[in-house]
Symmetry: C2
Subunit: 207 residues, 2 copies
């Protein structure tokens, strides 16, 4: 399809499409003449991904570029690529503060043994736990155990749903699923607070 | 204590303390002379709360004011006050879009029967589910059931930990606990993805 049809199909304005092309977020079309290029379904899909990461997940351009490059990289270690792609998602952590993560280490032990102690998610957890501590809500061992058990069960469902086979598709799904389902889970927890507090006949505590 | 001691004890700069006093986020001290006021432990605690909501949870001043007013209100329905306080937390939802929330209603049914269908968390869930759908990751019935089961279990732990007795303390704890533990749970889920993917011997999918 021509670039005008790509604009019509995706609803992404022409100026934005051209900007993404210049920035390398969208691969060039196939040249079919002096000034014409042909675009396909992969361009439609890529535009949806870039829009989702930019507008829905609120990522800066540099992070989107990192993720797109990892999806397009034809080889390399998939585990490492996934790790780097997920690490490009917010919240941003201080790059200087590269461990140790004493608070996160204690909680990670409750989750499982196969966790990279230097991963970005460890730094993110350390920051979150430090914030909790600073307002007098440091996480107790029991809370860590309860949260770990249920978060692991959620992760088991998530990981089983990741498409296998196509490497780029697995990275794309994992990045989007991580970013997109976090606010879903947060809102569901708030609703569960309502339900549990009322079901307990409590006077609304925790709503 | 004098205002200079309040500054020293809390580490909050004098200009900020005065600003919070002017804005009504911090109650005035007890007058003990023509130009002197006496501050107590409740002022220290309130400063910690305001800082946590401003800096850690990133709330705008107007939202902090809403929450503080609800904590200080001596009477009224506790359930309604808790609802309004939690509703002041991000993410912001379009006030015009006051239901119905068709996607959220389906998921809420999996969580439990005691959910206010017009609550802000319903609007937040609807927004999150719409975003998921827009990138082709609409939530399946099975995913809704799995998430609901485990989020409810987390909420049962949360609600049981809310202090009873003091109304203001219950609201303060619930607001902080909602805001502060959301990033903890998100980071724990990312680590659980790592653990589960590796434990399954998968080639890293979901990390």
């Amino acid at each position: 399809m021509r670039i005008s049809e790509l604009v019509e199909t995706t609803g992404v304005p022409l100026a934005t499409v051209k900007y993404y092309l210049r920035e390398g977020l969208l691969p060039s079309g196939r040249p079919v003449g002096a000034k014409l290029s042909d675009y396909g379904e992969d361009h439609v899909r890529r535009l949806a991904l870039v829009r989702a990461l930019r507008d829905t997940a609120g990522l800066p351009l540099a992070s989107v570029r990192t993720i797109v490059a990892l999806i397009d990289a034809p080889e390399g270690d998939l585990v490492a690529s996934l790790g780097r792609a997920i690490a490009a998602l917010p919240p941003t952590v201080d790059p200087a503060g590269s461990g140790p993560y004493p608070r996160a280490a204690g909680v990670a032990r409750e989750i499982g043994a196969n966790i990279d102690p230097d991963s970005t998610a460890m730094a993110q957890l350390e920051d979150a736990l430090e914030a909790a501590e600073s307002v007098g809500l440091g996480i107790s061992d029991e809370r860590a155990r309860v949260y770990a058990r249920h978060v692991r069960a959620i992760a088991e469902f998530d990981v089983a749903a990741v498409p296998t086979g196509d490497r780029g598709a697995a990275i794309e799904y994992s990045v989007l699923g991580t970013a997109i389902y976090e606010p879903v889970i947060a809102a569901m927890r708030r609703l569960a607070h309502q339900h549990v507090a009322r079901a307990a006949g409590a006077d609304g505590a925790g709503r």
